[in-house]
């Protein structure tokens, strides 16, 4: 890893606050998060339920805006970017993996994986070929033409991971990717993430409830009461 890439984190958050307005009440959920994630890192975010993990992840993923604070993505200020620019960053630089898989039900596995490429303007033929390579990579090559309904939870999550990878993003954001799966299948998914991180140097941020999953990540943040309570980095 060169000094230059180490110098610019993929994600850098400073003093991120998020307050939800519920009726007349202002609910402060994030109260000043400082966080930076470097290229090639595999990070787990843990914390109490309702502590604001998903809220933070949505802000990192440019799906939601913070109430206050600074956010630079690969060195570029992203607060106040217009919707098209945010869409473009999501499309090219970020891969999402959700707890509920969130595959589009009417499309086959391959078509789901190809979707980010199509929004990028790639041809159907080219994106289909790319999609199939990535399905191969997550061990779903033989299910490329199946509908999500015909796949098990673990298989759907593999397809979702292929979809997140297909666009060659700078970072994968996974919100409880193993949360809807049983322990064995969850561990298989975790193994896939670990392999992708180790072999391909993919940067991954993962929210998890499961201490056994979190323990496998070299870097961990614990969010409590809207702040980062503890940060630990395994020496590797």
């Amino acid at each position: 890893m060169t000094a230059e890439t180490r110098a610019t984190p993929v994600i850098e958050l400073k003093g991120i606050k998020k307050t939800f307005r519920v009726g007349v009440l202002d609910l402060p959920i994030l109260k000043g998060i400082d966080l930076s994630i470097n290229k090639g890192e595999m990070t787990a975010i843990t914390g109490t339920s309702g502590g604001g993990k998903s809220t933070l992840m949505n802000i990192i993923g440019l799906l939601d805006e913070p109430t206050a604070g600074a956010y630079s993505f690969e060195g570029r200020e992203v607060i106040n970017l217009d919707d098209d620019e945010l869409s473009s960053i999501r499309n090219k630089k970020i891969g999402f993996v959700f707890q509920q898989f969130n595959l589009l039900p009417r499309l086959s596995a391959a078509e789901n994986v190809a979707m980010p490429l199509l929004y990028r303007g790639e041809s159907i033929g080219k994106s289909d070929a790319t999609a199939r390579t990535f399905l191969e990579k997550v061990g779903m090559g033989d299910r490329a033409d199946h509908n999500p309904m015909e796949l098990s939870g673990g298989q759907q999550q593999r397809v979702a991971i292929a979809r997140a990878l297909a666009g060659n993003p700078s970072i994968i954001l996974a919100d409880e990717p193993t949360g809807a799966l049983d322990t064995k299948v969850g561990q298989e998914i975790m193994d896939l993430f670990l392999r992708l991180n180790k072999e391909d140097g993919i940067t991954i941020v993962m929210i998890t409830h499961d201490p056994r999953i979190a323990a496998q990540c070299p870097k961990r943040f614990n969010i409590c009461d809207g702040l980062i309570k503890s940060e630990s980095e395994a020496v590797s």
Binding site: N58, G61, L63, D64, D83, D84, S87, S88, R90, N91, K92, F96, N102, L104, R106, L107, M115, P116, L118, Y119, R120, G121, I124, R163, G167
Partner: protein, 394 residues
């Protein structure tokens, strides 16, 4: 623009909820069908109305209100004074004066009240009448007691069992007349004297001799080719205004009437078109409703797409294409339905069916517009959903 992508996604979603799609298609196609059927019916009715005049000829003309019907004997215009008409009215090619009186007509002991027309030898030809049986009256019948009967008298004779009318006798003005011909029913809404269908035609001079009545009630005529109709009418009006002081002679021409008719019928078509368009708007609102429900149901899908990097206009494009496809196929079905409907009604009413391109182009144009118009709002709603809100929806 990623049109291929929008089309693929739109087609998938339309095919995946067939019931919703079907309802939307139904609404839009009924709307389009009613526009097309209404406009077509309007055009067909117009053609139908004009046909009756066209069969009569656009050069046809009637001069009326030139007799004082309260008097008997010699009227304002007696027959002999009509010989000067060609000189006075150079635009007239042909003319046939006639007199209308009333008499009891007795046949085999039955009697009916009936109009009696005193006609000249060319009356039949000028009116373009068609003979059903026998022959028309001609100049050689003048002063003879021969008559030609119209459809009403013929029907009444048939009812008393006389089927072979030619040669039968009728007692008119207490004189015995021989029927030499029966005329076919002349179309109702034309300018021809109404009495042709209702009454009996006898030679003018015969009428004059036995009743002493000599007043021309009306003149039917034909204009020369290529004359300016309104100028000719004005000139003829001037002449008759001079002759007939006590009252205002009316001059009606088929070509003017066709013009008025055209206007009225275009108005009818417009009105029917508007009725159709209201149905179309209802159909369009149906499409919008279906699209809005669809947007609400698919919030999560929209959120996923936004997370994958779809821009607002990608979401909008997909939904607009969806509405557009609904209207396109709804439009096609509607055009078929509309033409079928117009055909059915024409068949039932025994009108000559035809379909012009106007309603079809109108139908296509309007359905595309409706699709875009009513598709736009739901699509815009879908596109302005914030990604996070869309994703959180179930």
């Amino acid at each position: 623009m990623k049109l291929y992508l929008y089309f693929r996604e739109a087609t998938r979603s339309l095919l995946s909820s067939l019931q919703r799609t079907f309802l939307a298609l139904l609404g839009i196609s009924i709307g389009i069908a009613s526009v097309i059927a209404m406009v077509s019916i309007g055009e067909i009715v117009k053609e139908e109305a004009l046909r009756q005049f066209q069969e009569l000829g656009t050069d046809f003309l009637v001069i009326s209100n030139i007799a004082d019907e309260t008097k008997t004997g010699t009227g304002i215009i007696p027959l002999r004074s009509t010989v000067s008409i060609p000189r006075a009215c150079p635009s007239l090619r042909e003319f046939a004066p006639y007199a209308v009186t009333f008499s009891t007509v007795i046949c085999s002991g039955k009697s009916w009240g009936s109009s009696v027309l005193g006609v000249t030898g060319n009356f039949h030809a000028v009116n373009k009448l068609t003979i059903d049986k026998g022959r028309p009256l001609s100049e050689i019948d003048q002063e003879m007691k021969n008559c030609v009967i119209g459809e009403r008298i013929a029907e009444q004779m048939r009812q008393i069992g006389i089927s072979n009318m030619i040669g039968s006798k009728l007692l008119i003005f207490d004189h015995l007349f021989t029927i030499v011909g029966v005329v076919k029913q002349a179309s109702e809404n034309s300018l021809r004297p109404q009495e042709i269908n209702d009454g009996v035609m006898i030679p003018y001079l015969t009428l004059k001799r036995i009743t002493g009545n000599d007043q021309v009630t009306g003149i039917v005529g034909r204009l020369k080719k290529n004359v300016n109709v309104s100028a000719a009418v004005e000139q003829i009006q001037g002449i008759f205004d001079q002759i007939v002081k006590e009252r205002k002679p009316y001059i009606q021409t088929a070509s003017e009437l066709i013009g008025q008719m055209n206007k009225q019928m275009n108005l009818l078509t417009l009105f029917l078109g508007i009725v159709g368009c209201i149905a179309l708007v209802v159909g369009g609102v149906g499409v919008m409703n279906v699209m809005l429900v669809s947007v609400a149901e698919r919030r999560r899908e929209i959120g996923i797409r936004r997370a994958l990097g779809a821009r607002r206009r990608d979401i909008q494009g997909q939904f607009i294409v969806e509405a557009f496809l609904l209207c396109l196929f709804g439009g096609l079905a509607g055009i078929a339905l509309g033409i079928g409907g117009a055909y059915g009604i024409s068949r039932f009413q025994q009108w000559h069916f035809f379909i012009s391109q106007t309603p079809i182009l109108l139908g296509f144009g309007v359905s595309a517009m409706v699709g875009l118009f009513f598709g736009f709002y739901p699509a815009w709603q879908a596109s302005k959903l914030r990604p996070i809100e869309a994703l959180r929806a179930n």
